[in-house]
């Protein structure tokens, strides 16, 4: 981990670990959130795609990316595995109850093909989930693109 990554993780974990989750489906929550994180960290687009229902929507709000169904979601994952070859997702916290959930994460790596800067970044975000039958039917990722652009040196001076 870079210094920036350690700093982001330390801050996020210190805040979220202070709150104990007391939900009824702890095992299920950990399982789906952990499988989501593991699939991204395995750089395995099939393992990502299989987490989703056939009619799933996966959107990345900051990047403006909208993907429908496992095939488009697989291609979305493949793009990031190619563009960020050392991509890593760290689980910060998760909750899952009654078909709704969240995975708070830190996404980090080296930008080889998103903007092609060769610089590293780390950003904290959240996946807001809807689930059905143990699979994800909606995944909306929210993160701060400005945090990434600033670390890559792509923001105008002062911003």
């Amino acid at each position: 981990m870079t210094k920036v990554q350690r700093s982001v993780c330390a801050t996020a974990c210190a805040i979220t670990l202070a709150f104990a989750n007391t939900t009824t489906s702890r095992a299920e929550r950990r399982d789906l959130a952990q499988r989501w994180v593991d699939a991204w960290n395995a750089h395995d687009a099939d393992a990502v795609a299989v987490l989703f229902t056939r009619d799933a929507l996966y959107e990345d709000v900051a990047f403006g990316s909208v993907n429908h169904g496992p095939d488009e979601i697989r291609a979305f994952a493949q793009f990031f595995f190619a563009a960020v070859p050392d991509l890593r997702v760290t689980l910060v916290a998760s909750s899952l109850e009654d078909g709704r959930g969240t995975i708070e994460w830190v996404f980090s790596g080296t930008d080889r093909g998103v903007y092609g800067t060769g610089k590293t970044f780390a950003v904290r975000g959240v996946a807001v989930l809807e689930t059905r039958g143990g699979k994800i039917s909606r995944n909306s990722d929210y993160e701060d693109l400005a945090t990434i652009l600033r670390q890559l040196g792509l923001l105008p001076p002062g911003l």
């Binding site: 805040i15 989750n21 009824t24 709000v61 969240t102 708070e104 959240v126 807001v128 929210y142 993160e143």
Partner: protein, 138 residues
């Protein structure tokens, strides 16, 4: 889940759209932790939250939040929203532009204690804000 749990989430968007700091503070526990993730701001307790809310209302006097979805179960809640307003005063590192922003999407993750919010983490994209008020073009 009780009706009250969801009710506090409904009040969240209304309070932030009211420009009334006391309406915002009423939704939170005395020991609340409120995070604005993009700006890297963490406030602890109501005095710090009061200052944060006053700063937000000064920067965007017509701040408005539209509720997209909300969910609560037990101690856990989610609010998805769209934020709009006019950038009349300075934000951290973002001097006032006087320009409007119309559609910044975000999500707030909360932990509830009884009927109040104990932890609040706002996730949104400040690049979308900068783009809409003309501070950047990427």
């Amino acid at each position: 889940m009780t009706m009250t749990d969801v009710h506090v989430l409904d009040k969240w968007t209304a309070a932030w759209s009211s420009h009334d700091v006391d309406q915002v503070l009423a939704l939170f526990t005395d020991d609340c932790v409120y995070e604005d993730v993009p700006f890297g701001i963490v406030t602890r307790g109501k005095d710090e939250l009061r200052a944060f809310a006053a700063g937000a209302f000064a920067a965007v006097p017509d701040l408005a939040f539209q509720l997209t979805t909300r969910f609560a179960a037990g101690t856990f809640g989610i609010i998805e929203w769209t934020m709009s307003g006019t950038h009349q005063g300075d934000f951290p590192g973002l001097p006032a532009t006087g320009k409007q922003f119309a559609s910044i999407r975000g999500a707030t993750i909360v932990e509830l204690r009884d009927t109040r919010i104990r932890r609040n983490s706002d996730y949104w994209d400040s690049a979308a804000f900068m783009r809409q008020v003309g501070l950047m073009s990427i």
